[in-house]
């Protein structure tokens, strides 16, 4: 096939534009809500602590008091997150004595959610935390979509073991990959042809059973 230098130049320029444009629109963002400050006319600050931990425990994990006796509680989420990278939300509840003394307590909330990676917003989380504490009806929060598993020709998600050495690549739904040393890259699959960006770009073929990936001197088998 005859090469067309102008077409190649155009390809390169547009590829660069695409990459730059993507960098501008891709970053995830923090969504923050301070919820509602609520004054409870009865109960003690210890009651507030008990309720705060229960509320956080319903929607988040790793719930703890910031320090003993602080009456400030924190949890991270969503429920079921199995790694630090999967933590995309958090909630804090602060319990205060009532202004001017007397019975009751005041409770405040701060919620954060990483958008679009978290399945619900910070405001939704804070509202449910408040409703849980004051006994109002709560709205079920969406749970994270489980990662697809198994061998398929629809994607490259999963763990790939090199057939030639001990390299292991973990490919995730967001199109990224990471090896055992933390070196990252990207993957794209189109019509059975994969473009793997990992120490350069490599074109590979996915087998019809979705289990083997080979080409450009590489060969991997998916664990499934």
């Amino acid at each position: 096939m005859k090469r067309n230098p102008r077409a190649l130049r155009l390809f390169a320029v547009m590829l660069f534009i695409g990459l730059v444009a993507s960098i501008g629109i891709a970053p995830a963002a923090i969504d923050l809500s301070t919820g509602i400050r609520y004054a409870m006319p009865t109960g003690t600050i210890d009651d507030c602590g008990t309720k705060a931990q229960a509320a956080l425990g319903k929607y988040l994990q790793n719930v703890s008091e910031a320090s003993p006796g602080s009456h400030e509680y924190i949890g991270t989420g969503p429920l079921g997150a199995t790694s630090a990278q999967a933590l995309t939300s958090s909630g804090t509840i602060h319990c205060y004595p009532p202004v001017g003394g007397g019975n009751g307590y005041e409770v405040t909330f701060t919620c954060t959610a990483e958008t679009p990676n978290n399945p619900y917003t910070a405001k939704e989380l804070c509202l449910d935390l408040l409703h849980n504490i004051i006994g109002q009806p709560e709205t079920a929060l969406p749970t994270p979509t489980p990662e697809p598993t198994g061998c398929t020709t629809a994607n490259l998600i999963g763990t790939w073991q090199s057939d030639k050495d001990n390299t292991v690549l973990k490919m995730t739904p967001d199109g990224s990959l990471t090896d055992g040393d933390g070196v990252s890259g990207n993957w794209i699959l189109y019509n059975g042809t994969a473009t793997i960006t990992y120490y350069g770009n490599h074109t590979m073929k996915l087998s019809p059973d979705g289990k083997h990936l080979s080409g450009d001197g590489y060969s991997f088998t998916r664990k499934c």
């Binding site: 960098i23 923050l32 301070t34 995309t88």
Partner: protein
Amino acid sequence: MKYRFRVACAAAALACGLALTNAPARANLDTVIAQRVVVPTGTPAECSARAKDALTTVMNSAFEAGKGSGQWIGVTRVGGSASAAAVLECHPLDSGYVASFTCSVQVPPNPDTASTLCGKLTAAFGASTATAAPAASASPAAGGSR
């Protein structure tokens, strides 16, 4: 025919470029509650002024969640997206106030952790002139970071 080929090349390249990086960046959301600061003598208005100044100094952004709420929010943006946020909360005591600090940071792109950000805010708030409450005391009590 020649132009059709070029257009096809351009479209393919643009699609490749977008697909390569279009997935939302995966970042670790780091959140802490920093040590609260107790000021035995002072007004809520003074606390609000200090909170606003601290957020403006460190994050170049400060607004109150609701007028008179005493909850001050700062946001740092990277490439137009909020990548760090902090809440400084003022709560009145008998003759003073307590200020609490909550920080959330995406790592990456931020070089600072949530603890570091909250540390900067505490310093900017003027913790040296205030009294940090002892740990494990009755309310109001010292906070901690995790």
